[in-house]
Every structure is written in C-alpha cells, then in structure tokens.
Subunit: 192 residues, 2 copies
C-alpha cells in the first residue's frame, strides 16, 4: 500500500472537474472539493501540493477526455460521420452546456485571465481539438482549406456554447449544431 490504494486522488480530480466547470476555478475552494469527494481538507495536500496542481490535474483530465472522444470517433467509417459525431456528442450534453457552458471553452477563458502558466495546458486542449478536426477535413479532400475550416468548425461550436450558456437556451446549441452539420454535408459533395 505505498501508492494510492483508495482512489482518493481520482475522486478529488473528478469532484474538482465538476465543481470547476459549474463554479469556475476561482470560486471553487479546496474545502468544496474535499467535501464533494469525501476527503478531509488536510488530506488533499497529500495528493496535490497546491491548488494549482489540482487545477492542472483537472486540465490533464479534460485532455484525457478529449483523447477518449477522438479515439471513439475515429472508429466511425468516414470523416463526415466523424465530424458530425463530434457535434452530436456536444449536442448530447446540451443540459450541461446550458448550465455551465463548454467545459473546455470556459476553462480556457478563465485560465487566460491568470498569470500562472495554467492557460497553456488548456490551450493545448483546444489546439488538439482543432488539429483533429483539420485532419478530418483533409481526409475529405480539402487539403488547402483544412486549417481554416477547422477553426470555423470549432469556433462555431464554441460560440454556440457561449450563447447557449449566456441565454440559457438549449435551442441555440441545437440550431447551430444543425447549421454546422449542413455545412459539413455541403463540403462533402463539393470535395477538393
């Protein structure tokens, strides 16, 4: 039993993920995380030396989540299916987005307003997303426009998430999701 027999570290990260998404990094206290995960406050510091280290672990956890999603989508037969699957995955989480926005987008936005280096990890998350989308457009034959299309795709989703959250209206995400899917379809027929 020299290393993590009880999974407390994972529980702390899981609780921090959710609390940070719903309340933001700044308003989430270590006492909140300790309570939510059933770990005494003092014990948190055995797993994470500082609050920032816990936040960093949450960013890494979001990166893992992204990796898992991309791995799943990669099983779909065509790039069109995969891009649509990406949007549909977001659409499946409307309620969460209405309540607290995109976990990745709001995390980036919040961390960018801080001095410490935490924003870079969050930016890497966004870059990873965009790069994967670009690779799908390349597979569709849009070699030259792949990078630009990828930014438009992710940007479209992020903007929809901001508005969906700000106006607390799930229809916004659904509407934009369909708009983006129609666009993907139109790019499929007019391949490069």
């Amino acid at each position: 039993m020299t290393k993590e027999p009880s999974g407390k570290r994972d529980r702390l990260i899981l609780a921090a993920r959710e609390l940070i998404h719903s309340q933001g990094v700044e308003r989430t206290t270590l006492a909140d995380v300790a309570d939510a995960s059933g770990v005494p406050l003092g014990n948190v510091y055995y797993y994470f030396k500082t609050k920032n280290e816990l936040v960093e672990a949450v960013v890494n956890s979001r990166m893992q989540e992204m990796t898992d999603l991309l791995d799943t989508l990669d099983f779909l037969p065509s790039p069109v299916d995969r891009l649509k699957g990406m949007i549909q995955a977001a659409e499946a989480k409307v309620d969460e987005i209405v309540e607290s926005g995109c976990p990745m987008g709001t995390l980036c936005t919040e961390l960018e307003k801080r001095d410490d280096g935490l924003a870079e990890g969050a930016a890497a998350l966004m870059r990873r997303h965009i790069d994967w989308v670009a690779s799908q457009f390349r597979l569709m034959g849009h070699e030259d426009d792949a990078a630009e299309f990828a930014v438009a795709f992710v940007s479209g989703y992020q903007g929809a998430a901001v508005l969906t959250n700000a106006l607390r209206d799930p229809q916004i995400l659904i509407q934009e999701s369909r708009r983006i899917q129609r666009w993907i379809d139109s790019l499929a027929t007019s391949a490069g």
Copy 2:
C-alpha cells in the same frame, strides 16, 4: 457639492471595467480598483455599498458601450454595411481580444458561474446584441431567417473571440471576420 463633484465614481467604474476584463471579476479586488483609479480603498464604499454593486455598474457600463456602438452603426447607409461595420469594430480591437477575449462574452461566461443575479444583466447585453443583428437581417429581407441568422452571426464572433484568446492568435479573429463578411455578402445577393 452634494453629488459627485470629482468624477470618482466614473473613474472607479472605468478602472473596474478594464481590470475585470483582463483579470476577471473574481481576481479583481477592490484594492486593485482603488489603486488603479487613485481612490483610497475605504472611499470606494461611499460609491458602491458592495463589490457586486460595482460589478453591476460595470455591466451597465458595457451595456452603454453597446448602445453607443449600435447608435453609431445605425448611421451607416445599409444593413449590410452595418453588419459588416459591427464585425469590423471587433476586428479593430483584436489586440484586446487576443489578450483577454471579448469583454461581453467573457463577462457573461464568468457571471454565469455565480449564484447572485449578476448574470442576467450580462445576458441582457448579449440579447441586445443579437436583437439588433436580427433587425438588420430583417431589413435585408430575411424576415423568416432573421433570428436564426442573428444567432449564427453573434455565435460566430463569440467563438472566434474564444479561440483568438485561447490560442493568442489574432489571425483567427481576422479570418473568421472575413468569413462572416463573405456570408453577409452572399445573403445580400440572395435576399428574401
């Protein structure tokens, strides 16, 4: 001299606007605002009973800024010019957006993660923006699609702002700005 002979209230709001945009509401302390505006900390409470009241004043100030922008754009000759002018106004503030994102968007995102009623004022700001854009699309003859187009327009800008800030890349905003302007042009030729 019974009411505001020195403009301190305005200076406090102005300093708070900038600090909240660059650092976020949570990390901006009243001491920060007091310092930046040259007002002693204790005196801040003469003008604003609580920190939230100051934040509310900042939201109102952003609403006024939006009103001023819309009033200016309303002088342009056509709805196409006005919509393009709106995007170009954003493009003119790229540096600010690279550094800290859209003042309105990030404010909405941050306030939505709080319990107090401050998010509603920020949402009203976003709604005002969308409504004005929708009215322009209506003037272009797109009666039926105005609401949907307006959401796509504002969503496109907000998403671009999120990515521009997260990746610290001004080209993203510029590229998306042009994409949106081309779209406006295409809607002008195919009017309803």
